[in-house]
């Protein structure tokens, strides 16, 4: 079973802190991989303007590295910072890692005439182009994200060892939000892209447990022919895409996410003040009903963090913290490792109907219930 840890704090912190939480939760999983997503980036030797997109990934050969540079130049991106990881390759299981990269680019000048949607699509298409280019060349180039203020690292192996291999403890790279997931051994084979968190246009999610409704959901998402709905090396990738679909395509409020992935049943909806609408929404989005995972933890571009449980809630996740710093984890000990100076009696384990939100101000938790009135005005 995968282990999940998220920390969000007003003051940037080292991702290594979250890796220690992964270590605290190490019992019960096979430590076959690590995925890290950082938001609210701060580089110790570079003053980062958070509107500049950051490209993260792995070049597995020098040739791939050269192609990467060429492609980015051809698409008009100007490199303004290249974060070099201090890499101890002997700690990495895989042997074909030429270079881990985290590069800040300046967008082409003609982007000023483009709409926000066009720019977002262009960034996504660039990432997908790099990914496709790597796949065409024997998987020698892996691109995880290309987005402002977001960095992603994924690798096979024990999370703490990977952190040490990349010297993540050195505080050269810190962030206000860090998501980490351990395990890459999915039912669909070991693959770098199969590691959570999954990312699409600023939206990221990670999950523990198996999504048994994966294939019908994947089939439907593929049928939408949206270029970013691709990959699916893991059955959990669809959660990020459903969240993206909810917020970006349907333009629904965040509350709708839970109503789409785990809708209320008929008896509950018949008593709900917006039952008729929600029943219609459940019908229309029936193909996106999930089955099986336990916790879905996500982050949005404005640094909002969310946690929802599957309808069955077999393995409760926990959220806890204090004003200014919050943690979400698949195990209680993970929260304790990330924020030891909180009041543990205020830790909260969401029920099946809850959506936990840590807003960007990080003052207090918001708990939405599906049984609460739904913000219809935002739909209309």
């Amino acid at each position: 079973m995968c282990r999940l840890a998220l920390k969000t704090a007003n003051e940037p912190f080292s991702p290594y802190e979250v890796l220690t939480a992964m270590e605290a939760m190490k019992e019960g999983y096979d430590g076959s991989g690590l995925g890290l997503l950082l938001r609210g980036l701060r580089f110790d030797c570079f003053k980062y303007n958070s509107s500049h997109p950051v490209l993260s990934g792995i070049a597995h050969s020098e040739d791939a590295w050269k192609r990467l540079n060429t492609i980015m130049e051809q698409r008009g991106y100007e490199l303004i910072h290249d974060h070099k990881f201090v890499t101890e390759t002997s700690l990495i299981e895989a042997k074909d890692r030429y270079r881990y990269f985290l590069r800040v680019y300046k967008m082409p000048a003609d982007f000023e005439q483009k709409s926000e949607v066009e720019i977002e699509n262009e960034l996504m298409l660039t990432r997908l182009f790099l990914r496709a280019n790597g796949e065409e060349n024997g998987n020698d180039l892996t691109a995880f994200s290309f987005w402002p203020d977001v960095a992603i690292i994924k690798e096979v192996g024990w999370p703490l060892e990977i952190g040490e291999a990349l010297a993540l403890y050195d505080n050269r790279l810190t962030s206000r939000v860090c998501m980490a997931q351990g395990r890459q051994n999915t039912n669909y084979g070991i693959n770098l892209y199969a590691c959570h968190p999954f990312f699409i246009q600023g939206i990221a999610t990670m999950t523990n447990g198996e999504n048994t409704a994966f294939v019908p959901i994947r089939d439907w998402l593929l049928g939408q022919h949206f270029p970013g709905y691709t990959g699916y090396q893991s059955d959990s990738e669809v959660f990020a895409h459903i969240l993206h679909y909810t917020l970006k395509q349907l333009k629904l409020p965040l509350q709708a996410y839970k109503h789409i992935i785990t809708p209320l049943n008929n008896a509950e909806l018949s008593k709900h003040p917006q039952g008729a609408f929600l029943k219609g929404l459940r019908n229309a989005c029936r193909r996106l009903i999930i089955d099986g995972p336990n916790a879905v933890i996500g982050t949005l571009p404005d640094e909002t963090c969310l946690l929802v449980m599957d309808q069955k809630k077999m393995r409760p996740a926990t959220v806890g913290g204090r004003d200014g710093a919050w943690a979400m984890a698949s195990e209680m000990c993970g929260v304790a490792a990330m924020i030891p100076d909180r009041d543990p009696s205020l830790d909260f384990q969401p029920m099946r109907e809850h959506t936990i939100i840590v807003p960007p101000d990080r003052k207090e938790l918001t708990i939405w219930s599906q049984l609460d009135p739904y913000p219809l005005a935002q739909v209309a």
Partner: protein
């Protein structure tokens, strides 16, 4: 050897061993009560008097002669019209276990004489091919072992309903919601639907029992089962009752029964579950419905608005001025309008290599609420044997390719596909149904299985019984003769309906739990399926396992 002329034999002469069923009668047990001959629906047996010569030789008197003994016994007729159908009603009524039909294990000659008077064989039942079918061989093999705690079929909550009716694409739903547009009606129903069997094909007691059972499933057990009328309408008291919401009303090419339905619309307390427009039937593609004169009783005649005792063949196609597409489009729209656009309307077609074109037509018809595809193994009350045995298309690959066609368009389940035809043919109703659901069906229709399981229909795929068409159903299921249908107690039928659906519900959970599914019906979860037949696996796009 005697001369041929002394033996009464013609081209169609048959002996016991030429018949599919041979009556075994034990004279030593027979009480001559006559129950068996009275109950036999085919009049296949009769009480016969026989004389036996007993040679008498008195040696002392040097005389010889004969004495004669008469005895009585049950004999079997060997004419085609009276050939035993193996229903075993004689055995059921015999107080002394003196009689029973035994299947003829040799090939039998009646196969060649089913065309008396130039009339090809007509019968009820379904394709007479027995043994495990493709659906029976599908395994559910994607078991959640490592990554998720297993589900408990007995304790966890399972959502076993499906949607009948058109589902809009999410964007379109929200747009119409904002603009106050029409949202097509849908129903949340149990995915195993009692398929269309008409009030005419079925006896009044069978129909009443089914309806009682369906109402019990809905109102007491919480299993939202619906049943379909088939062509021929519905008794007026049902149309005006609150039970109408459990009924799918069928309109077919004969339009029988629809005068009554249209007249009843103003008095309806609730809307019907749906309207089914029958364009084709898996058991007899290209044929309309057929209710033979034996079954057109006074009640049926009144419901259908026809004289008593006449054959009621529906035309093979609906009346159309221009094309079938125009007819489908207009009928769907008309029926939707008739019920105020509050009732899902969907067509039923025979499984066919052309099913996809019908489906794509429906995708573009905003009023279409689904598509029911009926495969070659579907049952019927009356059809030509050649239609049943040789015409049509198996359901599995047909449903699968239709579903995948929708997947390619991102429209799966917008038009829910329902599958019918041979589900539960060998008793594995839940397994067959769930396999079709995972191949892409939103639900399945079951007719013959229901007759067999809730009313004890004796028909099988080895030509047993299969006399639904002539109104002599020995169990009273498909007869309009009160002497026969009084044998069927509607209360007991209703009890069996509830037992069957409780059992299907439990079995469905036992299938879904190990797959880690509980939140929604696993429509299109083809990754859970495997079959030990490489060609079938390739055709269906599922795993080949061995």
């Amino acid at each position: 050897m005697v001369s041929a002329r002394s033996v009464s034999v013609g081209p169609s002469s048959l002996s016991y061993t030429d018949l599919p069923w041979i009556i075994q009668h034990r004279e030593d047990r027979c009480t001559l009560c006559g129950h068996c001959t009275a109950v036999c629906p085919k009049e296949a047996i009769y009480l016969a008097y026989r004389r036996q010569r007993m040679p008498k030789l008195d040696v002392l008197k040097k005389s010889r002669g004969n004495e004669y003994r008469t005895f009585v016994g049950i004999r079997q007729k060997t004419t085609m019209a009276n050939a035993c159908i193996g229903c075993s009603m004689c055995t059921m009524v015999c107080p002394n276990e003196a009689i029973m039909p035994v299947p003829n294990t040799n090939e039998h000659r009646t196969l060649f004489f089913h065309n008396q008077k130039g009339q090809p064989q007509t019968r009820g039942g379904r394709r007479n091919v027995s043994g495990p079918n493709l659906l029976d061989r599908i395994m559910f093999n994607r078991i959640s072992m490592l990554t998720d705690p297993a589900l408990d079929a007995g304790r966890h909550e399972f959502n076993l309903t499906t949607t009948l009716g058109r589902t809009l694409a999410p964007e379109e739903f929200l747009k119409r919601q904002r603009e106050g547009g029409w949202i097509p009606p849908t129903r949340e129903i149990f995915p195993f639907v009692i398929g269309s069997m008409s009030f005419g094909a079925l006896s009044p007691n069978m129909w009443l029992g089914l309806l009682q059972g369906v109402a019990y499933c809905n109102e007491v057990l919480g299993i939202p089962v619906v049943m379909c009328t088939g062509e021929g309408g519905c008794p007026p008291w049902v149309l005006k009752s609150p039970y109408l919401k459990y009924i799918v009303l069928q309109i077919a090419s004969g339009y029988f029964g629809w005068d009554e339905i249209i007249r009843a619309i103003p008095d309806m307390q609730c809307d019907p579950a749906a309207i089914e427009i029958k364009y084709g039937q898996g058991a007899k593609p290209g044929d309309g419905g057929l209710l033979m004169w034996f079954k057109v009783s006074k009640l049926i005649a009144r419901l259908r608005g026809v004289p008593e005792g006449v054959d009621l063949p529906s035309p093979p196609v609906h009346q159309t001025l221009y094309s079938i597409e125009e007819s489908v489009m207009k009928m769907i729209q008309t029926m939707s309008t008739a019920f105020g656009h509050k009732v899902p309307v969907y067509p039923k077609i025979s499984a066919s290599t052309s099913a996809k074109s019908v489906l794509n037509n429906l995708v573009r018809n905003p009023y279409a609420g689904g598509l029911l595809i009926d495969g070659i193994d579907g049952g019927t009350g009356a059809a030509y044997n050649v239609s049943m045995d040789a015409t049509g298309h198996p359901i599995a690959s047909n449903v699968r390719e239709c579903y995948l066609d929708l997947v390619a368009q991102g429209k799966q389940n917008e038009i829910p596909i329902f599958a019918a035809g041979g589900i539960g043919k060998n008793g594995n109703v839940t397994q067959n149904g769930m396999a079709l659901i995972m191949l892409g069906a939103s639900g399945v229709h079951i007719g013959k299985y229901i007759m067999q399981s809730v009313a004890g229909c004796l028909g099988n795929e080895k030509s047993r019984c299969n006399v639904c068409n002539v109104g002599i159903c020995p169990k009273g299921i498909t007869s309009q003769n009160p002497k026969l249908y009084r044998r069927l107690d509607p209360d007991l039928v209703a009890e069996r309906v509830s037992e069957v659906f409780m059992s299907i519900s439990t079995e469905a959970k036992k299938i879904m739990a190990p797959l880690g599914r509980s939140q929604s019906l696993p429509v299109g979860m083809s990754d859970a399926l495997g079959i030990s037949d490489k060609d079938a696996a390739d055709r269906l796009g599922i795993k080949y396992v061995c």
